[in-house]
């Protein structure tokens, strides 16, 4: 691995060296490194590009890293990764993609991730997307994240895209069985002429399911963001959608949350707000000794924290 690779891995997965435990590193559409653990087995698919990750029932306090890096211009990488998480697991999964495009052609990675989370299992999933490079070629990331939660299962799904991605179309779908819980957090920052679209469908099929969707975004310069988070309740359940965006410069944001109740005991709430940074917030931080620029950055950092 070269310095660009290690920098990308640091940005997307906070890795400074090969991770402990199970991992699968993909670079420019090819396997770069893999390790299995006693409870986590990663296998290449034979019918299409991608991997199957099998996590044995009752696996606890283990993690698996599956970062992807793209450093060549002109690459279009499509990958299908399926996660089979056994009952009663308690695991962390760290994914993410970093693109370094120093050429004039488009570099694109489309990751289709599907999770089958067993009964009473608990998963924390973090997916970070990042782009860089001095080339004129586009950096495109189109992730799909599909999650099926069995009874009593729990997922904390966190997706982050901070800077450098010219275009993204994200799709997230979560289906919850009885007693399952999902917290879906999305943090997004666009700048320049970037475009981001995020569509989410969270469907609570079972009694006692709970979900919380939190979307926080910052659109700067001429960038455009569109959000379609939808929470559906088909049983007695509770769902909350909260979308907050900060708009700056000449950016444009559309936030279109939806809640759909198909059962009289489905309690669903949505909130959406778009606004600029409040002037009194900047003034307050300036009275603490920050410059106007430092104050603005601190507010954005906190908002996306």
């Amino acid at each position: 691995m070269n310095t660009i690779d290690t920098h990308l891995l640091k940005e997307i997965a906070d890795l400074e060296r090969v991770p402990q435990g199970a991992y699968n590193i993909r670079k420019n559409g090819k396997l770069e490194g893999r390790n299995n653990s006693a409870n986590i087995v990663i296998e290449s698919k034979t019918d299409k590009p991608g991997i199957d990750i099998h996590i044995a029932p009752n696996t606890r306090n283990e993690s698996v890293h599956i970062p992807v890096i793209v450093t060549e211009t002109g690459i279009k990488d499509l990958v299908y990764n399926d996660f089979f998480i056994g009952e009663n697991c308690d695991v962390d999964i760290v994914a993410g993609c970093g693109i370094h495009n120093s050429g004039c052609e488009t570099a694109e990675h489309d990751g289709i991730h599907t999770f089958y989370v067993g009964k009473n299992a608990k998963v924390r999933y973090v997916e970070k997307h990042y782009g860089e490079g001095e080339g004129t070629g586009q950096r495109i990331l189109n992730p799909h994240t599909i999650v099926y939660l069995d009874e009593g299962a729990n997922i904390q799904l966190e997706t982050v895209q901070i800077r450098g991605v010219d275009s993204t179309k994200r799709y997230t779908k979560v289906e919850l069985a009885a007693g399952a819980e999902a917290v879906v957090t999305e943090r997004l920052l666009t700048h320049g002429k970037q475009f981001a679209e995020s569509k989410m469908d969270v469907v609570m099929k079972g009694e006692g399911a709970k979900t919380q969707v939190i979307s926080r975004s910052v659109a700067q310069d001429e960038s455009v963001q569109v959000f379609y988070p939808q929470v559906e309740g088909d049983a007695p359940c509770f769902g909350h959608v909260q979308c907050d965006s900060i708009i700056m410069g000449n950016a444009k944001i559309s936030s279109i949350p939806a809640i759909v109740a198909n059962h009289m005991d489905a309690q669903l709430i949505h909130e959406a707000a778009i606004g600029k940074i409040a002037g009194d917030q900047i003034l307050k931080l300036m009275t603490l000794g920050l410059t106007e620029e430092e104050a603005e950055q601190k507010i954005l950092d906190g908002f996306l924290q």
Binding site: L288, G289, L290
Partner: protein, 245 residues
């Protein structure tokens, strides 16, 4: 030492200049506890904001420790040791109470214990608040007390508070007045408080009355406070008699 020399502040109001502050001159010696009081709309908050740099004066000068700071930015004044507690402080989605206190103190590594100590000084049960987000989950009174804690965290030589009592319950207010008394007793800072509260006015060394954009009276608390109370009582009696008639 803080010196205001012929300070003026005007805004455009329907084609004519509206004078909010008119020729305000005042000297505040180091370590003084000064209360600025007076009727609503008299210019007290404008005066305090102008000292902090939140308003640029349209006339006059502001000197701090021998330096003309009239045209310095808010940031520069803050870095020279002036702090200001807002009457209606903002909330910050995503920033935790601990983050804000760390920023205020200038110490990114502000310890949990130090943060909690600051919150305790403003009557908040520290452990319940230190990791809370500065968002709408906090009540107005809680945000106000955290705001005051940020000023205490700065340990500035000049602390300005704009109606610190507003929105704060009686019990927390009692704790707060003790904190002001403690800071003053140690002469750790010059304190300027805009207030209408008798308990705060009672802490003062000096009182300045501001009405209609000018200083109408000023002097030691022991001289001026009885006059203010007498005036207030006579006004109350006048109103009461009018109602009875």
């Amino acid at each position: 030492m803080l010196e205001l020399k012929h300070l003026a502040y005007s805004v455009d109001g329907e084609g004519a200049n509206l004078d909010i502050l008119k020729d305000v001159s005042l000297t505040v010696k180091d370590g003084t506890f000064l209360v600025i009081t007076g009727p609503n709309g008299g210019g007290k908050t404008t005066l305090a904001k102008t000292i902090m740099g939140l308003n640029q004066p349209t006339g006059g000068e502001i000197w701090w420790n021998g330096e003309d700071i009239t045209h310095l930015s808010i940031t520069e004044r803050a870095r020279r040791g002036i702090s200001y507690g807002f009457q209606q402080p903002p909330r910050f989605k995503g920033l935790r109470v601990r983050d804000l206190l760390a920023l205020a103190s200038g110490n990114p590594a502000l310890s949990h214990a130090e943060g909690c100590q600051l919150l305790t000084q403003v009557g908040l049960c520290a452990a319940d608040y230190i990791d809370r987000e500065m968002d709408t989950s906090l009540s107005g009174g809680e945000v106000k007390r955290i705001e005051i804690a940020t000023i205490l965290a700065r340990k500035s030589p000049l602390m300005i508070f704009d109606e610190p009592e507003a929105g704060i319950d009686l019990w927390s207010f009692a704790r707060l007045t003790e904190t002001f008394r403690y800071i003053h007793d140690k002469r750790e800072a010059t304190i300027i408080i805009i207030s209408h509260q008798e308990r705060i006015i009672n802490l003062a060394d000096e009182i300045v009355m501001v009405a209609d954009g000018v200083i109408t009276d000023q002097g030691p608390k022991d001289e001026l406070f009885p006059k203010i109370l007498a005036n207030t009582q006579s006004q109350c009696e006048f109103v009461r008699k009018g109602e009875l008639a």
